[in-house]
């Protein structure tokens, strides 16, 4: 009897846990076969409200949905918090088998899973980012790749940081060394362009989601003299909280982070995937299921730099940022890290 009760209790707890997860909004289930809306499913490593990587794509999908005329035209299903690749892989396969038109694997770590599932579901289109690999060299034709040229906005934020800094000490909080390198390299290049002698202190937390360590890293940078901070990935919410508390300027990337630090967030480099998604939809509708690698840049309007309108920013800073963007667009500036900058 007692054993039965134990088993029952365990099932009850697991059910409770299942109820709470909410990582799949199941929008896709209510689709009307008659209307045949376009159906997109997305699997992402963090939350749709991470004010960073995942939110940038989710917001773009919602923008495309609105543009197309709402849920009747475009259905979006999502699985968030898929930081375990095995879970993500199962979700990608599930969505493909449910007949979604486009399954987006929104994380560089999902590459193997995408190609594996794409080979089994050749009639379904997949998209994978950050990547430039569509799998063409291994004979796969139904995968799009996408990525952001994050060093462009990194460069502009670097220019802004150098102009804002009084101490000439700037702190950078990265997640994992390899992934954030592009943005940080561009950032350092931008700083050195304006102030070659400024000190850029870089620290990595070793995690995308360790907000506690990111917050402490912000404290450390401030104590080490930094008066402007930047950083990437969803971990930065902890750091922005600290910047806010200490009145230290923050330069954001990936999504709009002003809500978290209305008085300290000066700029945001925003990833706008809407054009990329819209183009994928149009290609899929014409029967082209993959093969294109997209890159977000200032030139194609995939990257935008937005200033916080609620705080006073010197005109010369805004002007310098605009000039930097124009220089990048025209090719006058190549925002890559030079050896002497390192």
């Amino acid at each position: 009897m007692l054993r039965r009760i134990r088993v029952f209790t365990l099932i009850f707890l697991l059910l409770l846990a299942g109820c709470g997860r909410g990582d799949d909004n199941g929008d896709g289930e209510a689709i009307d076969a008659e209307g045949q809306p376009f159906r997109i499913a997305i699997v992402m490593p963090s939350s749709t409200t991470d004010i960073a990587w995942s939110q940038s794509m989710f917001d773009s999908l919602v923008a495309v949905q609105t543009e197309m005329g709402g849920e009747d035209a475009l259905k979006i299903a999502y699985s968030e918090g898929m930081f375990r690749v095995t879970d993500a892989s199962a979700a990608i396969r599930d969505y493909a088998s449910e007949g979604f038109d486009l399954v987006i694997a929104h994380g560089a770590q999902y590459g193997n899973s995408v190609f594996e599932v794409a080979a089994d579901f050749t009639e379904t289109s997949f998209a994978w980012g950050t990547s430039s690999d569509t799998g063409a060299d291994r004979g796969i034709e139904n995968v799009f790749a996408y990525g952001a040229v994050a060093n462009e906005g990194g460069y502009v934020n670097g220019v802004v940081a150098a102009m804002l800094s009084q101490n000439d000490v700037i702190g950078v909080i990265g997640p994992v060394a390899g992934d954030a390198k592009l943005y940080i390299d561009g950032f350092v290049r931008g700083v050195t362009e304006v102030k070659p002698d400024a000190q850029v202190n870089i620290s990595y937390t070793g995690s995308f989601s360790d907000t506690t360590l990111a917050a402490e890293a912000a404290h450390v940078h401030i104590q080490a003299g930094a008066d402007v901070l930047t950083g990437s990935a969803q971990q930065v919410v902890g750091a922005i909280g600290v910047a806010n508390e200490n009145g230290v300027a923050w330069l954001g990337t990936q999504s709009d982070q002003i809500s978290l630090g209305p008085d300290v967030v000066v700029t945001n480099q925003i990833y706008n995937w809407a054009n990329v998604v819209a183009d994928m939809i149009s290609k899929i509708e014409k029967g082209e299921l993959g093969g294109t690698a997209y890159r977000l840049t200032f030139a194609n309007d995939g990257l935008r730099l937005e200033f916080n309108e609620n705080i006073e920013i010197a005109d010369e800073v805004k002007e310098a940022a605009r000039t930097a963007i124009e220089d990048i667009k025209s090719g006058a500036v190549d925002p890559v890290l030079l050896e002497e900058d390192e």
Binding site: L2, I5, R6, T9, L10, L13, L14, L16, A17, G18, C19, G20, R21, G22, S46, S47, T49, D50, I51, G81, G171, G174, A177, N201, I202, S203, Y204, T205, G206, S207, S209, D210, T211, T212, L213, A215, E216, A217, H219, V220, H221, Q223, A224, Q234, V237, G238, I240, G241, V242, N244, E245, S259, L260, G261
Partner: protein, 310 residues
């Protein structure tokens, strides 16, 4: 470059970071110590922390006083502790697995509530730095120990309080007795289940305050899964500290010290690869665990359900 690490201001900075970083670990691992000393392993600490973090944040977000936020977290923590006690003590489910269930429950429910009630990442004004008059003026030491927010002080106050409860009170004697030999305690008239319910509620309350210390003390935001597994490290720190409050304090400080050190090493551009730097706290934990494992006297009845004989 390496010289910069040994300047007075940097050393003070490292120790200041260390004291602050240890806060959530201290609350959570002291709470877990209560449960484990009474023989219940609770792997759901991280889930309780997330619930505490969310409810404290939500109360403050809705305009309530910061201490109301802490009290709400404590109430939620007690409820989570009760749930764990019901499953592990009354229903006698396997403690490890039910703890994982509790963790997933806390992770899922806090995310769901966050999505439903708040919707986007927002900031609040949390506990401000509170320099203790006179003491904070002591050169060096003043900044390291007496220039933090109220929850940091509370975490350190909980160390002697927990020690006193476990080692110098009747309740503490019952907790230790139930953890070592529940049958004997039962024959002496101690309610084994009653004691375990109590320790799990205390543990739940402290774990929830650990979460609150993140969301309205150290970061002043709530984000889904913001503890990032910190609760599991807190459970490890109880083993690390050999189930003693002072050991738990030492473990929390050592882990936080190495974490603070690695952040400073990177910020000062000392040529250590960042991958190695972020591994340092974990390497240190494994080394210390390896050396202390033999001397550990764990509660004999840990992770064992108690069923009264006929």
């Amino acid at each position: 470059m390496i010289d910069e690490l040994f300047t007075i201001s940097t050393l003070i900075g490292i120790l200041h970071s260390c004291v602050r970083l240890a806060t959530p670990y201290l609350f959570a691992s002291l709470g877990e110590t209560f449960g484990q000393r009474s023989g219940v392993l609770n792997l759901g600490v991280d889930g309780i922390m997330l619930m505490g973090a969310f409810f404290a944040f939500y109360a403050v977000f809705e305009g309530h006083n910061l201490w109301v936020g802490v009290l709400v977290a404590i109430a939620v923590g007690i409820l989570m502790g009760l749930l764990k006690a019901f499953v592990s003590v009354t229903m006698q489910s396997l403690q490890g697995i039910s703890g994982i269930g509790l963790y997933l429950f806390g992770l899922g429910l806090s995310s769901l509530l966050f999505k439903t009630l708040i919707g986007s990442v927002e900031g609040v004004s949390g506990f401000r730095q509170l320099a203790i008059p006179l003491l904070s003026d002591i050169p060096g030491l003043g900044h390291i120990l007496f220039n933090h927010n109220a929850l940091v002080y509370l975490a350190y106050i909980m160390v002697p309080v927990s020690w006193f409860v476990i080692n110098r009170t009747t309740l503490g004697l019952k907790i230790r007795a139930v953890g070592h030999n529940p049958e004997a305690a039962d024959t002496l008239g101690v309610s084994v289940n009653g004691v375990r319910y109590t320790t799990l509620m205390i543990g739940g309350a402290l774990a929830a305050v650990a979460g609150a210390s993140l969301s309205i003390g150290l970061q002043n935001v709530f984000q889904e899964n913001m503890t990032n597994g910190l609760g599991f490290i807190a459970v490890a720190l109880v083993y690390f500290g050999s189930w003693r409050t002072v050991g738990v304090l030492g473990g929390s400080l050592l882990f936080s010290l190495v974490n603070a050190l690695q952040l400073w090493v990177q910020a000062l551009d000392i040529p250590v690869p960042s991958e190695v730097a972020v591994m340092m706290p974990y390497i240190m934990t494994i080394v210390v665990l390896a050396f202390t494992a033999r001397q550990i006297q764990k509660p004999a009845a840990l992770a064992r359900s108690y069923e009264r004989g006929e």
